[in-house]
């Protein structure tokens, strides 16, 4: 390949690196991908759409424990066999058995329960004129939604939140030091999942876990351990993401009171509003892949084993795909990749889309004049982002 194309460079481990920066926007304007200190970053929508689904790229985080000195044990066995890191037929088989229970047809039954939950949480602070998004709303909401979905009693949500965030330490570089805590938390979560499975096998109900227990594709079923592993993965994968995404959405609306009022007056726009905030500010700012074989695409050469990051926020604001990138909750847009894409496309996206739609609709119905109510604190604007602390003051509607 000719080398006269100037390929931008991004230092993504620099603590000041941010997706919303001139550096990243300039890189996107300059070329469709950038080099980084960890492989390549795909910046433009057209190319993210194309390459994210390319079978020459694997999910790649399967080796994460090994790369960090963890080669066996309870966490290792779970992680290396869970849906997120499986590839090929092993992935497709489990994904096929899981998919139907997460389809709109089955998920819509949970709508009244999610609405009741959103109402209950909002009622707890509505007369105070202020709330802290994470503590008062998005964390209990995201966790209790998963309790409702899996059938875990909502009263146990703080335990579930603690277990999921302890297991989340496995994705940090302190995985080895934290391993005993991570394994204790995973064992406890296994306990919840195993009890649910045994109960629904004995007493089938009209719910998600029963559907998964009974899932059957041409005679093939999920074993108890496959189902247990999947339940733990979806609790793990559905909590922080939803919590963070709600916070990011509210920040977007706080900046655009006109859009908030439009939503309040037209609650049917809530679904589209969720798409719009995820396009502009996805919590998962990049989705990572690893080349299985040497991959050549136009002027990009990725050697086998190298990393490719798909920058979702950057592609979601690419002027080529979105000529009017300003927030507009009435716009019909090209799809964003905040839920990833291809065979690993988020399993729980219909759940997340529905619960966030309900949250945005109910919040906009009940409050107006949103403004910052204290000191905010945010995770870095890269990898998985969102609020740590986000106080909002408002007027009750």
């Amino acid at each position: 390949m000719s080398t006269d194309i100037a390929v931008p460079y991004l230092d993504i481990s620099d603590p000041t690196f941010a997706m919303h920066s001139d550096q990243v926007r300039d890189a996107r304007a300059q070329h469709w991908y950038a080099k980084t200190n960890y492989g390549y970053a795909i910046l433009r929508h057209e190319y993210v759409s194309k390459l994210l689904k390319d079978p020459r790229l694997s999910q790649g985080s399967g080796q994460w424990p090994d790369h960090n000195g963890v080669h066996s044990g309870l966490f290792y066995d779970w992680w290396t066999t869970c849906l997120l890191v499986l590839e090929g037929d092993n992935h497709h088989r489990i994904r096929r058995l899981l998919n139907p229970a997460f389809s709109p047809r089955h998920i819509e039954a949970y709508m009244p329960a999610f609405e009741a939950l959103a109402d209950e949480l909002v009622d707890s602070f509505i007369d105070k004129g202020e709330f802290e998004v994470v503590n008062d709303f998005s964390e209990p909401y995201a966790t209790r939604v998963l309790c409702i979905l899996t059938g875990i009693p909502q009263s146990e949500w703080t335990t579930i939140a603690r277990l999921a965030s302890t297991i989340g330490l496995a994705l940090s570089i302190s995985i080895k030091d934290e391993l005993p805590n991570i394994e204790d938390a995973l064992a406890e979560l296994y306990g919840y999942a195993e009890a649910l499975i045994a109960d629904r096998q004995a007493n089938p109900k009209d719910d998600l876990v029963t559907k998964l227990v009974q899932a059957n594709a041409a005679g093939d079923t999920l074993s108890d351990s496959e189902l247990r592993n999947a339940l733990c993965l979806l609790i793990f994968g559905g909590m922080d993401t939803t919590r963070n995404q709600i916070g990011l959405g509210l920040r977007e609306f706080m900046r655009r009171p006109d859009q908030w009022e439009l939503l309040a007056a037209n609650p049917d726009l809530a679904r589209n509003a969720v798409e719009e905030v995820m396009r502009m500010n996805p919590t998962t700012t990049w989705v990572t892949r690893e080349a299985v074989v040497d991959l050549d695409y136009e002027d990009l050469h990725v050697p086998a084993g190298s990393t490719v990051h798909f920058f979702t926020q950057v592609s979601g604001t690419d002027p080529e795909a979105y000529p009017n990138p300003e927030m507009d909750i009435t716009a019909e847009r090209a799809p964003h990749y905040g839920f990833g894409g291809g065979m690993h496309h988020c399993l729980g996206h219909f759940v997340a889309r529905m619960d966030m739609t309900i949250a945005m609709r109910i919040l906009s119905q009940k409050m107006t004049n949103l403004r910052l109510g204290g000191t905010e604190e945010w995770l870095p604007d890269s990898a998985n982002t969102g609020p740590v602390r986000f106080p909002i003051a408002f007027d009750k509607r």
Partner: protein
């Protein structure tokens, strides 16, 4: 049974290929290809594919 995929919606995620591999497949370019006339015996599989499609782009007549 007639199967129709709305190309304007379909984003080639390939989830339908897990449910009904003899009806839906991704070609070398990663673009969805599918059968339009499908035997009635495959109805369950095709309905499952339509249910799980992330873009809800599959229609059955």
């Amino acid at each position: 049974m007639q199967v129709y995929v709305d190309r304007a919606k379909c984003d080639n995620h390939g989830q339908c290929t897990f449910s009904a591999p003899t009806v839906f497949r991704l070609d070398e370019q990663g673009v969805l290809q599918y059968e339009e006339n499908v035997d009635e015996s495959l109805r369950d599989e095709v309905e499952e594919a339509a249910d799980v499609c992330p873009l809800q782009a599959i229609f059955i007549k």
